[in-house]
């Protein structure tokens, strides 16, 4: 399964957030997306997951165009997390994950009203799967704590579990290690590798270039809405344009 953005542009009023961006996410790989703040990375994610309709250009899933409809993207196998954690705070961790599985659960309204045997089977299967995802990301399988009461790092993990519950072919993580210390970052990096080993393509947005270059198979560099370079970490790391435009910029800002 490949997810591609084909010559995507996105403008907000007069502001050009994305300018003729092309990106391909091959199956079974970890793809990195780096760039300074405001480069348009999150906007590109929003286009790829159907939240935004690009001003021009197309999003293709396995060659077929994807409408600007998150439900269709989710059904098609594109799931995501958010840069600022956005869980359903008052719902239990388990219910959060079950909402992530929404598009894969088949239950009619009548079945939901009557709770017949077919319904109970589907509910039990969904719950079992949700618990498995909670365990996979390293949270307890019970998950009856409300999401808001979880520790910060656990909330990030819960968001990943919620996205995984939707059976994605492509998982998009928007700054999954933001605000984490060294050990926590290493744990997340191991988790991302484990997700890739399940046969799921992963796209990661990150600021931490060390993290990206050690983890990814392929790296895209987005600067001021334009795709500057892309290639394997070794070539991107040494590309003078990247050093000037991106690495230089962060060094200055530090």
């Amino acid at each position: 399964m490949t997810l591609t953005a084909e010559r995507v542009s996105m403008t907000f009023g007069g502001l050009v957030a994305l300018d003729d961006v092309t990106l391909a996410v091959p199956g079974n790989r970890i793809t990195g997306l780096i760039g300074p703040n405001g480069a348009g990375k999150t906007t590109l994610f929003n286009c790829l997951t159907g939240l935004y309709a690009p001003t021009s250009g197309r999003i293709l899933l396995d060659g077929r165009p994807l409408a600007a409809d998150p439900a269709q993207a989710m059904r098609g196998g594109v799931a995501r997390t958010f840069q600022n954690i956005r869980l359903f705070p008052g719902m239990s961790a388990l219910d959060n994950v079950l909402v992530g599985r929404h598009t894969r659960i088949k239950q009619g309204l009548l079945a939901a009203l009557l709770h017949g045997p077919g319904f109970r089977k589907s509910e039990a299967a969904a719950t079992e799967r949700a618990r498995a995802e909670l365990e996979f990301v390293g949270l307890g399988p019970e998950g009856h704590m409300p999401a808001r009461s979880l520790a910060y790092g656990d909330q990030r993990r819960l968001e990943i579990a919620r996205a995984l519950a939707g059976d994605p072919a492509v998982l998009m993580l928007d700054e999954p290690t933001a605000g984490m210390n060294g050990t926590e970052t290493a744990d997340i990096s191991a988790l991302i590798t484990a997700i890739r080993d399940r046969g799921i393509a992963v796209v990661v947005i990150e600021h931490d270039t060390k993290f990206i270059f050690s983890l990814c198979d392929h790296v895209y560099v987005l600067v001021r809405g334009r795709m500057l370079v892309d290639g394997p970490p070794a070539t991107v790391r040494t590309d003078p344009r990247v050093i000037e435009a991106y690495l230089g910029a962060t060094e200055c800002s530090k």
């Binding site: 439900a71 939901a112 009203l113």
Partner: protein, 484 residues
Amino acid sequence: MLVGALLPWASTVLPGGAYPDRATLQFFDAPHLVSGFRLHLVLLGVLAALLSRARKPAGIGVAVIALVHMGFLIGLGAPSIGGPVALAGGLLLMWPGLTAPAPELKPPGPAVARLVLLVAFAALVWLVSETLTAGGQSRATNPYGGAEFLAFCGLVLALACALSAYGVLAWLAALTDRHRFFAFSVMLVCALALPFTDAGTGYWMTVASTIGVYAATAIGLNIVVGLAGLLDLGYVAFLGIGAFTAANLAHVVPFPVAALAGTATAGILGIVVGAPTLRVRGDYLAIVTLAFGEIFFRAAQNNIGGLTGGANSIPGIPPISMFGHAFDKPLGVLPAGSLYYAVTVVMVAVAMVMLVNLRHSRTGRAWAAIREDEDVARAMGVRTGRAKILAFLVGSMMAGLAGAVFAHKLGTVGYESFDFSESVTLLAAVVLGGMGTVPGAVVGASLLFVLPEKLREFSDYRLMLFGLALILIMRFRPRGLVSS
């Protein structure tokens, strides 16, 4: 240090047998009150003396009873001497002192659990019957009725708080959850047994079935507001639509058909209202639904379409009649109105099952997700528009069904029953009782619709008392009386 050492002493010495008697000395001359206020105060005093964790709840109860008393006596123009003493005692009891840790309640075996549930629900129904009948039927038969009722409420409140302080309520809730089916059946049977208690008179059955209608409606609203988080300020219009539909069909078709028609009409209008509101959220949604409620109210008032009778109402709606028996007549030992009561109990039970089942389903989780964060719900693949319309549909159908029963039960339907204040009261019932919880809507509806019935003599202050109660509850239990 000194204060800390004195407090437990003060709270054990003061509340004992001595002070309640002193406090009640000047209360009323009427002999029957010995079993009323004084008994309550003595009971609470003993409770506080014996159980340290129950001290604060008892204090609350004593203070409430004292306040009711003082208010009532001052209203009669008589000075209250016992009142302030009792109030002081109550406040002292509430003073935080040393308390024993809560005992740990272990979950019992299934057989014991069932027995406990049986006893608990039977006790609950008995308590409901006592609360309903406390203070008698009206001012005509007992001039102190209102005050007696309020004082009894104080006692019930204290008992509930005490049980809660010992973790008994949470323990019972856990048992109910574990043996869901059994608990539900027992509850249904116990509720149906109400006509056999003190409340088994035609008058109380009528009151109870009115509460039932509003409770079912409140549960429907709870689906819309509590589960899906859609603030609907014109909800009572759907009750009206169900009622007017049934009223117009009552002479033509039997009740089940009229009820179905009322349910369906309300459901269709629910979709009609729901669809254009999909683009608005929060405050804006509230305003749109408010406008819809007002449109319905004005249309009904002016008899637009000739379906509502306008100011004349629609009179002469025949009672529900099945197997040749009209539901407003007594049946065997059952007093008149019992059959309507049974109908409403079944209706509330169905509504409860619907609410619980929906909450624990894909649809219910989608609603909760929309309530928590609509954008993310959409990003997770929830078709938010469809889910919201579904919430409106289910909620308005529930109200439509309740409306059909309402029409047959009352015999006349007029537009005044469906004005804005009714929507607000229903909403208050949901918020007071606890959003999204099942017993919450029932408790809230019972309180808000039984209080005016009980407190006729306070009718001038009714809205003020409502407001006061709302503020107090939101201050001390912001998530509702029955929070999950």
